[in-house]
Amino acid sequence: MKLKGKALRLPVNDNVNTDYVISGRYKFKITDPKELAKYIFEDIAPNFYSRIKKGDFIVAGENFGCGSSREQAPQTIKAAGVSAVIAKGYARIFYRNSFNIGLALIECDTDSIEDGDLLEVDIKDGTLINKTKNVKLFTNPIPPVMRKLLDDGGVIRHFKKHGGFKF
């Protein structure tokens, strides 16, 4: 599966928490992910939603998605049209939540990626090409369990398809 889009950088690089992805004051009021998406990253980057074009990537540093367990965080990212998050690393609850709902997370050294760079990611073989800079980046392979969940279209479909977990 090849994904193509531009890199979107946030004013915060490391430890982007799930409160920043979608604030608690919205997640209690709004249950429709598409509606929630309008407020994505609002507390750290007002009007961020208007910058997103379908297929774009959120690019960040270490420990993306730390903090609260809210599944609304990956849901909102997905509903906003983002095709994958690319970061140096992820907090564990967010990591599980994302693959559970079918949002791909790519792990790699993101220092060289700048806001607006055009990226091409092949989820299958793990290649990431920065088209703007014309460089290929090394990504950590997606672990087999997460690949399986992603290939099956999330944990619910996986669970129904196999009548339980099958890794």
């Binding site: 490391d14 430890n15 928490n17 409160d19 920043y20 604030s23 608690g24 004051r25 997640k27 209690f28 009021k29 709004i30 249950t31 609002e42 507390d43 750290i44 270490e62 420990n63 730390c66 903090g67 609260s68 367990s69 809210r70 599944e71 609304q72 990956p74 849901q75 690393g89 907090a91 564990r92 609850i93 599980r96 939540n97 559970n100 709902i101 369990v145 999330g154 944990v155 619910i156 669970f159 129904k160 339980g164 977990f165 890794f167």
Partner: protein, 419 residues
Amino acid sequence: MGKGKTIAEKIFSRHAGRQVKAGDIAICNVDFCFGQDGTSSIIIDSFKKLGNAKPFNKKKFYMVIDHSAPSPNMAVSKIHQKMRNFARETGVGMYDIGEGVCHQLIPEEGQVVCGDLVLGADSHTCTYGAINVLSTGVGSTDLAITLASGKNWFRVPETVKIIVNGKIPKGVYSKDIILHIIGLFGANGCTYKSVEFYGEAIESLSVDARLTISNMAVEMGAKSGLMKADKKVLSWVKKHSKRHPRPIKADNDANYIEVTKLDISKLSPQVACPHTVDNVKSVKKLKDIKIDQAFLGTCTNGRLEDLRIAASIIRNRKIHKDVKFIIAPASKKIYLDAIREGLVNTFVTNGCTVLSPGCGPCVGTHCGVPADNEIVISTANRNFKGRMGNPSSFIYLASPATVAASALTGKITDPRKYL
């Protein structure tokens, strides 16, 4: 490399029905699971998407209405109604408004005992590590899978051992110890890892105080923050639960990815400064930071001894005229005990606002959202920008003593002169 096992490896082995070690993927039986009003709506949706699913055990799943309770608006009321209806339809457990914060209720009500594996759709589920429970936070869909099957999959974590030695100085509490540790390790310091806490400082603490430490293990990324089941833990668990505890000890030759020894005999009260929990400083270094609001409560520090400490500081003194001091007991039981002991009388008489048991203003949905540029000192576990509902406000985290002392002076204050 030792052949022995950590607490996490043993608890996952027990629940997988086979021997597993760090790095393995294990499918495990879960002893208890729950959601709260910020996560249960999606649990219900995901559970229904599984098609013809039934709760694996009606007594082992609870929903807790605590994050936004009582409801501040129609949208939240609708979520609460959905939870109540689901509980009625399926017969699963429910703690409704006024009962308290999930992480206080679940151990206090005896739902979990030593050696259990527990999942909660809330990141601070790691709290029960203090009573030797491997409990960890997951998202709503993960929880729905467990609700339907009684199981989930886990990557068995590596373990970091933290030994906290030294006599705890006066005015320093378990909150200061864990803030100090988070400051050292950083927000990403234990990501994916299990932490085991040991040492004479930990042993000297009450079980309630230990819960504060395990509660915040997730603030450095940890999957769990475990402690051993000593006599204090076993008697606490027996007092609260009819279930039989099955404590787990780490082997002497267990493999740790990292071992850190700390001496806290000279530690001063600690404060986490805006906007990250690992931005920790000694209270002595924070001069003349005026506060507009003080908040005592939450799953971190809303327990009876926290209320006692705060009451002892403000008794016969006046809250600063420019400070709003908001207090939320962590459970109904704590609230009633605080009334019996006269603590609530002290709070209300001295100008504090006491809320019903629950999360209070911690998550920014109601009951004390700060105004622009306002500064809050809080006993909660998160100070992210916007956490309390306003991205233009500033949140400092500290112990109940530091929060109470600051409410008296109107600025961030070392509590030691009031003890």
